[in-house]
Point group: C2
Chain length 692, copies 2
Amino acid sequence: MLYKLFHPKSVAIIGASQKALSIGNVITKNLLKYQFKGPIYPINPKADEILGVKAFPSLMEVPGDIDLVHISIPAKFTPDAIDECGQKGVKFVIINSAGFKEIGKEGEAIEQEVVARAKKHGIRVFGPNCQGIINSDPEYKAYCDFTFTYPEPGHVSIVAQSGGVGAIYMQCIHDLGIGMRFYASNGNACDISIPEILRYYGEDEKTRVIILYAEGFANPGEFMDAAKEVAAKKPILGMRAGRTEEGAKAAVSHTGGLAGVGLSTELIFKKTGILTFRDVEEMCQAAMAFATQPVPKGNRVGLITDTGGPAIIATDELVDNGLKIAPLSDKGKGILREKLYPEAAINNPVDVLATAMAPHYRAALDVLMDEENIDSVYITFVTPPFVDTESVAKEMAEVSKQKRKPIVCNYITDKPQWTGTTAILKEGGIPCYDFPEKAAKVLAAMTDYNKIRSRKLGKPVKFKDVDASKTASILQKAKETGREILPAADVYDLLNAYGIPVAGWKIAHNADEAQKAAAEIGFPVVIKADSEKIVHKSDVGGVVLNLINGEAVKVTVETMQKKFGEQGLRFFIQKYLPAGTEVIVGAIEEKGLGHMIMFGLGGVLVELFKDVSFEITPITQFEAEEMLTSIKSSALLSGFRGKAGVNRAKLIEIIQRVSQFVMENPRIKEMDLNPIIAYEDKVYVVDARIKI
Amino acid sequence: MLYKLFHPKSVAIIGASQKALSIGNVITKNLLKYQFKGPIYPINPKADEILGVKAFPSLMEVPGDIDLVHISIPAKFTPDAIDECGQKGVKFVIINSAGFKEIGKEGEAIEQEVVARAKKHGIRVFGPNCQGIINSDPEYKAYCDFTFTYPEPGHVSIVAQSGGVGAIYMQCIHDLGIGMRFYASNGNACDISIPEILRYYGEDEKTRVIILYAEGFANPGEFMDAAKEVAAKKPILGMRAGRTEEGAKAAVSHTGGLAGVGLSTELIFKKTGILTFRDVEEMCQAAMAFATQPVPKGNRVGLITDTGGPAIIATDELVDNGLKIAPLSDKGKGILREKLYPEAAINNPVDVLATAMAPHYRAALDVLMDEENIDSVYITFVTPPFVDTESVAKEMAEVSKQKRKPIVCNYITDKPQWTGTTAILKEGGIPCYDFPEKAAKVLAAMTDYNKIRSRKLGKPVKFKDVDASKTASILQKAKETGREILPAADVYDLLNAYGIPVAGWKIAHNADEAQKAAAEIGFPVVIKADSEKIVHKSDVGGVVLNLINGEAVKVTVETMQKKFGEQGLRFFIQKYLPAGTEVIVGAIEEKGLGHMIMFGLGGVLVELFKDVSFEITPITQFEAEEMLTSIKSSALLSGFRGKAGVNRAKLIEIIQRVSQFVMENPRIKEMDLNPIIAYEDKVYVVDARIKI
């Protein structure tokens, strides 16, 4: 669908100008400078030529067909320009001009007008308020953009909502000395969307890795579908800004984008298989490795170094990022002992020594490639001025080309002097980084990607034992009575309907009923005042625990009646459970996305350490299990220092049932099962809250 | 003392060779290439000249004085070379050769011989197994080193134990386009030490900031003295590797288990005022800012940007690092409203818009410099090709030169094209970074440095109410009986002697005594079996809690006697305290350094979350307070969600008393006060363990 946008055979610029510091001029200059392969048509009624290129007073005067038109004239003139494009039979338009949705209502009206007219003409619009696209293909060399980096052809494609961040990516890829395939920064995205661009990159054979930057999604569902589809074919490296409250605020004030979606964006990335980054440079550096190296099959690294310190720093960073410094086999050590210097260290890291020559490096590389317990290779290569480093680099390049296991290299040198060595490493596809931490982080990212790629998410279970009609009637009733917070009895009935285990309970209206209910449930019991008016029940004496007989129940009910008034007050009588491990499961609606489910351990771990995990619905068995293991206090669930573990399977099932419940009942805004008390055998919800 | 080492007027190279890939050749080449200002004397009995420089068969044949001699001949010949230097009256020697301490006993013997002979001749030795030194001063241009980076003169001085890491620093400083003053990498450091080099850098007026890399300290005390002295004069940026390395401390207590290798180095850095880094690149990038910008007076940042995304990323990173995006005053906003484009965002971040010109930037800069609530300024500067960026840069440079508040800049451009703009920013001393995260981290580091610089550590309190003679006699007795783990009674007597509050206790030998003791202490009580043979008392039934009367005490004592045998078994009877907040204070010996003190909250927070803080003795009031506030669960000490807080002053005092106790009794190897139960008013040690 977007082929012609990225492969235009001719480009016109409405608003091309002789003024050096104008966007129309810069775009024309860029097309010329990057040596665009087709005709360029500057459109300007007052000029004969722009930068030496013949200008035309209007699109209609242009002799040939036009594949792509830039519009960089004031916003208010753009709808008429769209009509002109329609008359000329143009199919793609990039609107660089600002002054649309981002400035408020007036601009939004113009933007809508542009979209409407474009639709009528069958024109696809890229932008407005955007940079544009670049295709580095030597047969096109289409620099339809006003930025300043002129990339070499390559295999990394970039799509960035923010032009500023896009510019950093493009420049970084360029500075790393690797090539770029496509670039796209679509600003307000009134028509052509990021999901559409992603899909197009997914189909493009020469794109091996995709860099994605987003600040929010107009349609998260559409994005997820596209991302899932493309991520299954090739690595997508994703980043989003606004993860802190202040950052999100800055995002709103500067781009008018969607706010407060920081967490859910990272969850979307995770669920769809996008590798998430929180650092621009790390992401570009990882792209470099993905473009040339295979993906590691596991987390066991073998290191080769010719110096001490940097390898120690690398080890710290690798271990911090979850990688393992695997021991070498006796066979491997034997070969190293024979082929390296006698003083060399034949452990992992293998220290070949600063004076090592090409055959030493080759021996070490071959051993690590052969080792069954090694999944990837990390090299520290300081170029000693007393070593023939080009020969060393040739061995590295040769081994790299075998593509048996991924190699990354912390290459420490002065590049303007070591040009020969640098060129050999580059030709061999070895990703080289100036700093040990960077090379280590790249290897960690590749290892993470392997984990994502090889995980078996599975399909969500659909529990058949749920009582849908009962659920519907409870929710309908609540809607009719206008309640937002459901009464306790309704909450527990809903949980029952979805097979979520609840500690035994009954409703009572007075002391007599309460005593009878308590006797049936069995002592000890808890009594909670049940009234919509009482919000923080515990804080005002509306909850009394551990009542051991009928007399205590009676006194409690009467005290509450005095305190809160008898009018409409009911009592929720529930089994008082012995101490166990308290956990929390929550759900919260996310606009356009369904719900986000939270899991954590109760008490101070949630409140002070924020030790919780989240997932987006629908949640599969795999994901629910991961929610349990990914919290820091996960060890407590398996038993810790003498304390018994809990029934994890039951908790995993509750998470899945909650997922199904909120998906089948999208009216649910929030839901809290807090606490759930978990024991070695059983698990009970003890308190719950549902908001619709 | 080291002046001549760094300012040699003549250099000889013993081992200079015509072989291109030899160290002696490379050093001679480097001296020539860097244009050393004095005479170079290659020493080689078989060559007339090396690289066109007249060679001499021995030092004695050299006509003039020699300030500095490189030795790069096999290790076994080095002692005689030292004698030759002595005869020639040389005062400084750099031994580049390897084959000393690092290869084992044989090499160590040679190293000792070198040190002994050097001492006899009054020669100071740098190395062996090292790179050397560099002085970029145009009057010296002394490149006495075999590395490959040729730095411009500047104000950053580097000292690195590892040559590999040193090479990365030097190259990074060079690539950042800033200058270097001195470089030193001293390898085995048999004589001239890092503390000595630090002190020398401290005295050097042209050194504005010091980069330090260490892997360990031969003499931590000496290092601390030097670092404290120098850090008071100028910023020292420090890093050390090996933070994840396993084991080394085979201690049974929590403190030993949690401390880990490398922790004490970071504590040394902190205590002496060194700014600690964990990333090589971040450290060099920070050095760049320290070399030209003032230190911020607080953590409130004002941002100026001409694009959205990068400023959002910067905001995230700044906030993550503890900085505040301060609101602007109405006055400031008023000026911005008047002077910027109407669509500009006049919040913080100030978005001047991509089309902003020099006067817009100047207005924004002046406002932020005038704002009372802003301590530092962060600029995102994408160079739009339609803006006169040189004029913009001139305004930035002008404001930077006022040195009112520090400025850092995320400068996004293609530098080979934007040379004019880049040069103006550099000349203005504005530290420019390619990525928003990097600029933000640098500003965070500068802000941290201000905090370190302005803290009032104070002096350690000396409690006078301690009973030193009782302490000495208990420890002496323990030594005589050969006990490593002190008996409970001794432990509590020691705590008493140092004024550390202990829950009431008594020793009993049988049920009768136990009953009497319990009655005197007051019920309820705890009984602990007291025998050296029983290590994990709780696990084997050696601790029984909450005994409410004499009968229960009797039964417990008799049961324990049956279980553990009556022989030598004593009973420790202690007041059973109601539930409170459990905390831990521990101490562990650190060789050459005194002790490390640990503080944390008891239970799962220590064991699972490792939420503890450490300090090195002596601990001041300020540091003890910081230990309480720097744990993540610190809020629990102040009271949290209805739970009362604890008496912080008493805990702070206990930490200081423990510090004094272990300092005055260096025989203490480990000490654990676990738990200490803290209440709103009082604090009691309930269990304790001391190992000598």
